[in-house]
Symmetry: C2
Subunit: 206 residues, 2 copies
């Protein structure tokens, strides 16, 4: 693409580095910024820089946080006895949006995946085991994606936690609400039959 | 969406203000920035701020520019006698990408559209008329979108330029390359018959 301004070209190139944004979309965004008030564009740039420079990771659960301990961990209304183990910050936001969980989290920072060079040491597994031994944890709930790597991670952590005697569960797998039986894969449908649940508990949760 | 960090939330909100970017995409972009090196994120923010604060508009053609006169107008290889009139900077970039034009541009900054409250005075029409009277202009080529507003703008400017005796043309309208006759609208197809061109000039341009 030909630009008559290096300033414009540099800004387009910076946006085009972001995932899912090509040159044309980047140009559209930059031309929009060009039309905006200068102070609003300064606010945009400074907010992004401030976010990257000042954001912290919670020392207890490794979620993103403005302080040393995140707003979920420091909230006295949340039950610290229940720890939901997730892969990333994105999963915390997804679960928080359901408003169905009032415990705390533990962000692993990834999942065990030898092919990608990610071993247990790169994740916050040791910190989780320490948390469970020291705090009065009653239950560890795994909310990991249903992949081989996810299952490997559950298996590995579960072995480490066995000696603590804590209750270990995983979120239910099955046919999604709104999903059609005939299009479900055999594994999901098969498992959802094996792990069938009493109708009274199903009805009470709807 | 629930965030445990105000810094993160502010950055997501800033991105979500951009056109075509919703909350989910904004979150994806911000989480990507969070994983990037801090100095790269600072470079991103500063490039955007610098672009908005330092970019100029060429005093001759109103294209975006790093200096008072843009790189196209100050390029001695380009013919200043030929002026291509376009609606916006975006159109300059589109025409430059064809590499078929070696004249200069004039960016109107919009088109006449009474319904949107845009009259001739808000556009750079007077500057164009001045340019044509003062410079040794040979031809003014209109490259505006084929809408009623575009045609109105052409008609208005053409009236203003009539006394100068300059040659006034507009880019060809017709069936696009790769277009199918049967799916073309009647107006385009009808006009392309009226404005038919000799085969030898068609063949020599392919």
């Amino acid at each position: 693409m030909q630009f008559s301004s290096t300033l414009l070209e540099n800004a387009v190139n910076e946006f085009a580095k972001l995932p899912g944004i090509g040159k044309k979309t980047a140009l559209r965004l930059v031309l929009h910024l060009l039309k905006m008030d200068a102070e609003k564009v300064v606010a945009f740039g400074e907010t992004v820089i401030k976010m990257r420079q000042e954001i912290k990771f919670c020392q207890r659960c490794y979620n993103v946080s403005d302080a040393d301990i995140c707003s979920i961990c420091s909230n006295s209304m949340r039950r610290p006895e229940s720890i939901c183990v997730v892969e990333s910050i994105r999963d915390v936001i997804a679960i928080e949006n359901t408003q169905q969980f009032n415990g705390t989290y533990h962000v692993l920072g990834g999942i065990i995946s030898p092919l990608d060079g990610v071993g247990p040491d790169q994740l916050t597994i040791e910190a989780l085991v320490n948390r469970v031994s020291k705090e009065k944890t009653e239950e560890v709930i795994f909310a990991l994606n249903p992949t081989i790597q996810g299952d490997t991670t559950i298996y590995y952590i579960q072995k480490k936690l066995q000696s603590t005697g804590v209750r270990i569960t995983t979120i239910a797998r099955g046919i999604a609400f709104g999903g059609e039986l005939e299009y479900a894969d055999e594994l999901t449908l098969g498992r959802s039959l094996q792990n069938r649940m009493p109708v009274e508990s199903y009805v009470s949760h709807r």
